[in-house]
């Protein structure tokens, strides 16, 4: 499948649910969607089209929170990134995709603790990376988090 065929397949299947398509070059494309449709898109792309789930990456874009779900079509060397924008930055919610693929198990836990995003339907959102005594409600990868300066006089 060429990149145009991959994009067309997604477009044909979802129609108006696809908000914007940005084909960066012959190997990369970004597709914007509503955050509520993320499970449908993942199911179609991962299960029906058989693309591999690379990883998801959350981005704090100052005003909104967005999650990019990267899928790669290995036979053609194409990476498609699905961008779900979460408008409510104070209390970001999105549905879990662990019901579709187990490979998202850890990354959702990670985004939950580093960005404070709630994944509805994911029962296992225990901390993965941060220490056990990390204060609650402090999310280090948000832009509002400033790394505290280390006082060099203290050992």
């Amino acid at each position: 499948m060429s990149i145009d065929a991959v994009i067309k397949k997604i477009q044909d299947n979802f129609g108006a649910k696809v908000l914007k398509i940005y084909k960066k070059n012959e190997r990369r494309a970004y597709i914007d969607i509503y955050s509520k449709d993320v499970v449908d898109f993942t199911r179609y792309i991962f299960k029906d089209m058989g693309l591999r789930f690379n990883i998801a990456s959350a981005v704090d874009d100052f005003n909104t929170m967005e999650i990019l779900y990267h899928f790669s079509d290995d036979p053609s060397g194409v990476v498609i990134s699905i961008r779900a924008v979460i408008k409510d930055k104070k209390d970001p919610h999105i549905d879990t995709i662990t019901t579709v693929t187990k490979s998202a198990w850890w990354i959702e836990r990670e985004m939950h603790e580093l960005f404070g995003i709630e994944f509805d339907g994911n029962e296992d959102l225990r901390p993965l990376l941060l220490p056990d005594d990390w204060p609650r409600g402090v999310y280090p990868l948000r832009k509002s988090f400033v790394v505290p300066k280390r006082d060099s006089r203290k050992s």
């Binding site: 960066k24 070059n25 190997r27 990369r28 970004y30 591999r52 789930f53 690379n54 990883i55 990456s57 981005v59 704090d60 874009d61 990019l68 990267h70 790669s72 290995d74 036979p75 060397g77 990476v79 990134s81 693929t101 187990k102 490979s103 198990w105 850890w106 990354i107 901390p127 993965l128 990376l129 941060l130 220490p131 280090p140 990868l141 988090f145 790394v147």
Partner: protein, 395 residues
């Protein structure tokens, strides 16, 4: 009534990076559940990278792992090159491939050695680590360092391979191949190892796809993926080589994949040295425009993924790093459960995580407060091999 004991493994070992903590729940000899906790060495590199310039972040990601210290920088520079459509000179692409394959060789050798130790084949351990030395020597010749090579930069590489060094590299590679033949024979033709490793810790193809397993872990389960072929980068599409796959999905298949892959790596290095054109090694790019970029690299353990978002300033707005072990780890849940404790060591080691985790194992029996050290678990694994040998009448 069954008695369930918890086996905590980890998290610290001062010699290796990446400590992890596993909790195995065992019933008698059988493992019934696994839980894993990572993050003891979480250094906030993604956050740190947001405060550095694009040139500096390459050096930060280089220090994520001492073994994959060329995979992360290549993925990182490729992500930046993807944002700004930066051209890389032909010669630099070949040098990138050479450094990457040297890294794969030394990493796979390291794994073969440690895997041998875990099952009581200390000769393999000694050989593996001894014969890895020529590769580290070549690395030093090519890059100036045995580890943390500092070779990559956006738009090219930082050091050229001198003409005079090529004959030396080829000579040391010949040396290495001879030893590799020896090692291959010792491992793949040994009936005890067949009996010990076949059918142990099977990851089925379906599960490998569902967990999105990567690299040798996936290829040993019949998933035919390799970033070098599928998402061609550096000079991999300019040389001839093949992707090694196996169908069984057990520890033995993973061993076979890694050993045969080393031959491919040697062949890639030779071809690259032969075909490498003369010319500049750096296109000296000036600006990074706003945009997004993805860099993919086949690290020794699987695909290494870097996503960088730039807002037009000198440093990334977001830098996401996903190392291959991150995807391979959760497959434990499928491979370790219902296996015996004596096999847990080698199954955990089979995906080639960093070894700190498997080095520091101890059993705590809640009831009797028994304590066994890591040595004890490795002894259990080694004893199993000895028993097998006796049964098979092999000395």
């Amino acid at each position: 009534m069954s008695h369930k004991a918890h086996v905590p493994i980890g998290p610290y070992h001062p010699l290796q990076e990446e400590p992890e903590f596993y909790k195995l729940v065992v019933e008698g000899e059988k493992v019934v559940d696994v839980d894993v906790r990572i993050g003891w060495n979480h250094r906030g590199i993604e956050k740190l990278s947001e405060s550095k310039s694009f040139d500096q972040s390459i050096f930060i990601v280089e220090r994520i792992c001492g073994i994959c210290s060329s995979s992360h920088p290549i993925a990182c520079v490729q992500a930046v090159e993807d944002i700004a459509d930066i051209e890389v000179p032909e010669r630099a692409l070949y040098i990138r491939s050479i450094v990457q394959e040297l890294e794969r060789l030394h990493s796979h050798m390291l794994w073969v050695g440690l895997a041998g130790h875990f099952i009581g084949y200390n000769t393999v351990f000694m050989w593996g680590w001894k014969y890895r030395e020529p590769i580290c020597d070549i690395m030093e010749t090519v890059t100036g360092n045995r580890q943390n090579y500092a070779m990559m930069k956006v738009g090219g590489v930082r050091r050229d391979i001198e003409k005079g060094h090529i004959s030396y590299i080829l000579k040391r590679l010949d040396e290495f191949t001879k030893h590799l033949d020896l090692l291959k024979g010792a491992i793949l033709d040994d009936p005890v190892l067949h009996a010990r490793l076949k059918g142990v810790g099977i990851l089925t193809k379906e599960k490998a796809i569902d967990y999105a397993a990567l690299g040798p872990t996936a290829r040993a389960s019949g998933v035919d993926i390799d970033v070098r072929r599928d998402h061609p980068y550096a000079a991999y599409d300019r040389v001839k080589w093949k992707v090694i796959t196996q169908e069984a999905g057990d520890v033995f298949a993973k061993t076979v994949v890694r050993i045969l892959e080393m031959y491919e790596s040697v062949s890639i290095i030779r071809q690259c040295l032969d075909k490498m054109p003369a010319g500049p090694i750096d296109s000296k790019p000036k600006d990074v425009l706003p945009g997004e970029g993805i860099g993919l690299v086949e690290a020794p353990r699987g695909e290494c993924f870097h996503y960088i978002k730039s807002d037009g300033t000198n440093s990334p707005l977001r830098h996401k790093v996903r190392a291959p072990t991150y995807m391979n780890f959760p497959t434990f849940r499928e491979t370790v459960i219902n296996q015996t404790v004596s096999d847990a060591t080698i199954i955990l080691a089979a995906i080639d995580p960093c070894y700190c985790c498997t080095e520091r194992m101890f059993i705590v029996d809640n009831k009797d407060k028994e304590l066994f050290g890591v040595q004890e678990l490795i002894r259990l694994s080694q004893e199993k091999t000895l028993k097998l040998k006796e049964k098979m009448g092999v000395k």
